[in-house]
Structure formats: C-alpha cells, structure tokens
Symmetry: C2
Subunit: 132 residues, 2 copies
C-alpha cells in the first residue's frame, strides 16, 4: 500500500516545469521562481501550522470541529485557563482563517472553515504526484 507520501513535504520545488539542469542558468530562472514560490507558499501556510501549534488551540479546534457550532462558554468550561485566554486563542484561530464565528444573542458560536483544513490536509498528505 502506498503510504501517504506527504506533500508539502513533497512539493518538490524543483519539479515544476522543465526543471532541473535544463540550463546552466539555473540560478536565475525557473528554479529561482520555483524557489520563490515555495518560499511564498511556506510563508502562507506556516501561520496555519503555527496556529495549530498550541495545545489549547489544537484542542479548541478539535472541539469546534466536533460540533457543528460551538459556544464559547462550552469551550471555556473545558479548559483550565481563563476566559480572556480562550478568547485570545480563538482570535488567533480566527485570524489564521481556521474558524469563523457569529453572535447569536448573548452567545457567540464558532465553527471550522473547511477550506483551511483542506489546505493543510492537501499539503500534508493528499497531493498525488509526489511519492517519494
């Protein structure tokens, strides 16, 4: 069976088009562009990983994803940290584009934005091609 060949991890910046050694000018054309692209891509995706890089936020995401809509009060209850801290983490998650929220009366509900997760999933394991 083909183990998921990861893929960000296998985005191989060098396999773009006519890649490699097609010209001595390697240091100036495609490769460079590819590399730049990779850099940008990394800069764009790293924040998502970073946002998920905190235990509290990871668990928060887990809880939010587990229920269609999660109320802040429920989330707060499940942690040992203060309300403001949870609020802060939710803001980080929100700014990373991982979740979105809406106010319904007194309560605020959060839900996961599938797009972001797909991005990560794709980066990590989907993307055929690669295979190492």
């Amino acid at each position: 069976m083909s183990k998921q060949p990861v893929s960000v991890l296998t985005s191989r910046p060098d396999e773009e088009p006519a890649e490699q050694s097609s010209g001595a000018a390697l240091a100036c054309c495609a490769p460079l562009a590819a590399r730049a692209r990779s850099t940008e891509q990394a800069a764009a995706v790293a924040p998502l990983f970073k946002a998920l890089g905190d235990p509290v936020r990871l668990r928060l995401m887990s809880m939010i994803a587990s229920s269609a809509k999660a109320c802040v009060c429920d989330l707060t209850d499940a942690f040992d940290v203060s309300g403001p801290t949870i609020s802060h983490h939710l803001k980080v998650l929100r700014e990373a584009g991982l979740v979105d929220c809406e106010r319904r009366g007194t309560w605020v509900y959060y839900w996961v934005r599938p797009q972001a997760l797909e991005s990560l999933g794709t980066l990590l394991g989907a993307a055929g091609g690669a295979a190492g």
Copy 2:
C-alpha cells in the same frame, strides 16, 4: 477531491469507550479520562504543528522531503539566514521527531521520518473515527 472531514478536528473526546479508567482516584471516570486523553493527545501533537509553524522550517521540511537525503550545506544555501540558524531549525525539527540525520564524513544528511508526517496527515484528514 478530498472532502474528508478532518479529524483531529473531529476526534471527539467524548466518543471514547469506557476505556478502562482503572485509576481509582479519578474524580469522575470516563469523561475525565477521555478529556485527559484528548488533552494529552493535543499536547503530544501540538509540537509537531508548532515545529512546522515557521516558514523556514516548513521549507526545510519541504526540501528534505523532496530529496531522499538532504545535505545541510544545500539547505543552508537555499536560505538567507545564517548557518547556525539553519542548524537550530533542523534541531527543532529533529526534536519534534519530524526528521532524522546521519553524518557521512564531512557532511550531515537529513531525511524525513514518515511516521510523524503520517501522524499529522491522519490527524488532519484521514482517521476515520476516533483514533485508533
């Protein structure tokens, strides 16, 4: 394409069976254990995301995964940061269990440890129900 419903994100800490909470002193029982487990899981996985949460490290991973074995010198050349900084990032990646390295003469080669990536991939998109 992959419309899989993420999964860390859906690990629903409450769906754990009566996982023998033989610990007597448990304030409650299953719920607490389940939650503890979830917390532990988050604590265990967050570092992986965190390690990937830096653009340099993410790109480093990408490059390492792109080639069976990547030499530090090649990696260093591809970035604008100093050698020690690359070394530091590689250490972070190594300590997170994402990569491993070996010295061959003068050079040190790095490669990706599939396990870690699988963990992340599983967490993000695969894993059907809970954990397993």
